[in-house]
């Protein structure tokens, strides 16, 4: 179970543009770095991040090895209706995690 910190307001007014911030613990090993024995540490990064609001995509991010470890992303979304914001991260070595946050829109 990945360690994830998500910041989403609990409520919003319909039509508001809200900011969403997410931090996830992940080494984002670039594949360019030598390890203690001199051999290159194999690449291990998160490649795809998507955010959906009641299953409609509101934002997506393709990451490269140039994204820092414990990747942070902040983005925006229009508060359309109450429901679930789903964040999904996938990447190397079969990495696939999801975090859901409920939001009430009045």
């Amino acid at each position: 179970m990945a360690n994830i910190l998500v910041n989403v307001p609990k409520t919003a007014k319909r039509g508001d543009v809200i900011e969403i911030k997410a931090l996830i613990m992940h080494p984002m090993e670039t594949g360019f770095r030598p390890g203690p024995n001199g051999q290159i540490i194999p690449r291990n990064i998160i490649e795809h991040f998507t955010a959906t609001w009641n299953d409609s995509e509101v934002f997506a991010l393709e990451m490269s090895p140039a994204i820092s470890a414990n990747p942070f992303v902040s983005f925006f979304a229009v508060a359309t209706e109450s429901g679930t914001i789903r964040l999904r991260w996938t990447g190397d070595q079969g990495f696939a995690v999801e975090e859901q946050v409920a939001i009430a829109v009045e």
Binding site: N3, I24, F72, S74
Partner: protein
């Protein structure tokens, strides 16, 4: 480069105003030597990577472990109340012992004596998480080292290590952090080395680490042999440093380059 010039002006103004506000106390936290972007990263709990470790520590706090099947919460209840101020007082001599331990040592004493569980290895993920969580409860409080008279010889040992030239570069901590703090070394401002943010999320590590890890980096940096893990020198040094930083505000978990 107007952006760079603006950044320098901003930093100078901030530093000057902060020094003025201190009213004569010339001590500066490493926070003040960082650029605005990193200061913001530290200040925002929703964006500070150290908070990932604090969150993990909060979960471990509730976990029942060991032969005693106890969690930290079983004895200490809510950490916000019971752990408030604790990180400001360490290293200290636990009751029944005669040598000081740092906060990690204290956490392991709890695990072994009360939870009847194995001690956590130093710098392990779980230890750092608990350390971050416990230290976070003292954020905003002044560093207040214990005035236990038995600590005096250890503090003196720490002071002696701090002042002693070591390593192939034959430098002492004091030469950089007392005599040359504020000046540049390889483009970076030399900080005064007050342990105001530990455990810190260090950008160089891309992870969280303890003061001991940072001290090891310093020793490697001056090309000295780092003391072995668990060596009493680290606790002695930390004891000296927290006394030197007495009264400065704890920022844990800090962000540092």
């Amino acid at each position: 480069m107007t952006g760079l010039r603006f950044g320098i002006v901003l930093a100078t103004v901030f530093a000057a105003s902060f020094a003025f506000a201190q009213g004569g106390d010339k001590r500066r936290s490493g926070y003040q030597d960082m650029g605005g972007a990193l200061q913001q990263m530290q200040d925002d709990d929703t964006a500070n990577p150290g908070m990932l470790f604090v969150q993990q520590g909060a979960k471990l706090w509730e976990q029942r472990i060991g032969a005693a099947d106890k969690s930290c919460a079983d004895c200490h209840a809510a950490a916000g109340a019971s752990m408030k101020g604790v990180a400001t007082r360490y290293p200290a001599i636990p009751s029944g012992a005669d040598m000081p331990v740092d906060l990690e040592g204290r956490i392991n004493l709890c695990r072994v004596d009360h939870q009847k569980a194995a001690p956590l290895p130093p710098e392990s993920q779980d230890m750092l998480a608990l350390l971050a969580f416990v230290s976070r409860q003292s954020r905003g409080l002044p560093i207040a080292p214990s005035d236990d008279p038995r600590l005096a010889p250890y503090r003196e040992q720490g002071r002696e290590i701090y002042a002693r030239r070591q390593g192939q570069l034959n430098l002492s901590c004091a030469i950089c952090h007392d005599d040359n703090a504020g000046k540049k070394l390889a483009g970076v401002t030399i900080p005064q080395a007050h342990p105001t943010g530990y455990p810190i999320y260090r950008l160089e590590w891309q992870g969280l680490g303890s003061l001991r890890r940072r001290l090891r980096n310093c020793l490697v940096g001056i090309r000295a042999e780092p003391y072995p893990a668990g060596a009493s020198e680290y606790v002695a040094l930390e004891l000296y440093l927290v006394n030197r930083a007495k009264g400065m505000i704890l920022e844990s978990p800090g962000v540092r380059p």
